[in-house]
Assembly symmetry: none
Homo-oligomer: 209 residues x 2
């Protein structure tokens, strides 16, 4: 079974080397190589590659945005991100944008080859550290729960209304207490949650309870 792939990478040397090296592998067929996201978006939709290797640091539109658009045009195509850094934000932005795999550039080429095959076999290849970060991302939200538990019932009640965007005034009316009381409670909530604004508090509360 032949896997067709394309590469988006702005460094000419690296791009050519990768194409050449990967093409040598049996079962792989390169159908395109582009220096920018814009160029790739123009050409790829008619080529229907199985997999695209996408550099994140592209001049112009950037790799993440490119993935986002590419997936709209070619939902069936899998995209593997390539990057030098293991920045957490970039990882999750990429995944959200539709990336299927995420690899660091400083890895042996054999792994890149494996990754291509893995993607095509229904997997999501990622580098060691990336995998760990992804796992950790699920674990952190459990920690915030503890702070919420510090709140009294009254404070929880108020936080619920804060989260819905009620004005202090409206909360006061709803609970039939003075505005000043709400202010005091809010201050207490912020202190316990270690935040300094309604939105931060709401975000900590979101999903919980």
């Amino acid at each position: 079974m032949m896997i067709s792939f394309a590469i988006v990478e702005d460094q000419p040397e690296l791009r050519r080397n990768l194409v050449e090296w990967l093409n040598r592998a049996p079962g792989l067929n390169c159908v395109g190589a582009y220096p920018t996201g814009e160029e790739a978006l123009k050409q790829l939709p008619t080529l229907y590659p199985d997999v695209v290797l996408m550099d994140i640091n592209l001049p112009g539109m950037g790799g993440i945005q490119c993935v986002s658009r590419l997936k709209q045009l070619l939902p069936e195509t899998d995209v593997i991100m390539l990057t030098t850094y293991d920045n957490a934000e970039m990882i999750f932005d990429s995944i959200r944008a539709g990336a299927t795999g995420y690899l660091l550039k400083n890895q042996p080429r054999e792994e890149l080859l494996q990754a291509l095959q893995q993607v095509h076999a229904g997997g999501s290849p990622m580098s060691l550290k990336i995998a760990r970060k992804v796992f950790n991302h699920f674990q952190t939200p459990a920690k915030h729960g503890s702070e919420i538990e510090q709140l009294t019932n009254r404070e929880l009640e108020i936080l619920r209304l804060l989260t819905k965007g009620y004005l202090y005034k409206e909360i006061a009316e709803t609970l039939k207490v003075a505005l000043a009381t709400i202010q005091t409670h809010v201050a207490a909530i912020y202190k316990k949650l270690h935040v300094h604004s309604r939105t931060e508090a709401a975000m900590k509360f979101a999903g919980k309870e």
Copy 2:
């Protein structure tokens, strides 16, 4: 560098086979093998294993709960879950409970060996399908949202910062534009989302994107 590990698995045959097979590998040293989570929790805290292989389907407390407690007692120990099924709920419950890796049982033993080494090297080994599911988990909430899609990229960028609780001033500095520009964008965002405060916007945005 010697990696010490333990196994929690209720099927006696499988348990013995795994211990025997893994012990044969250079660099691996089995310090314990238990049929139940209860037994493991009693013995393991004094043994400080580097890695624990944990069956999910355990009689009694179950593997996921066992991980949860084990990680409280031994935060430094990595746990790899072993299971026959790739049920999504179990995967995420396990990860939240503190698992560092997640493997399907029907895999070649070489992969199990690799997984042990990967965990110790800072990775999070998972089977092909598991990895894909984990990735998909991030993407699904991104699907055809709502009013959020009306936002321009710039507005999204600002909304992201708003959601994190940044002050207008800080957003302006971050994006290197004037405070007035942020105000204008925020007004545009509120209009498109039909809200009148930062928190309401943040709540509509939460999870989405």
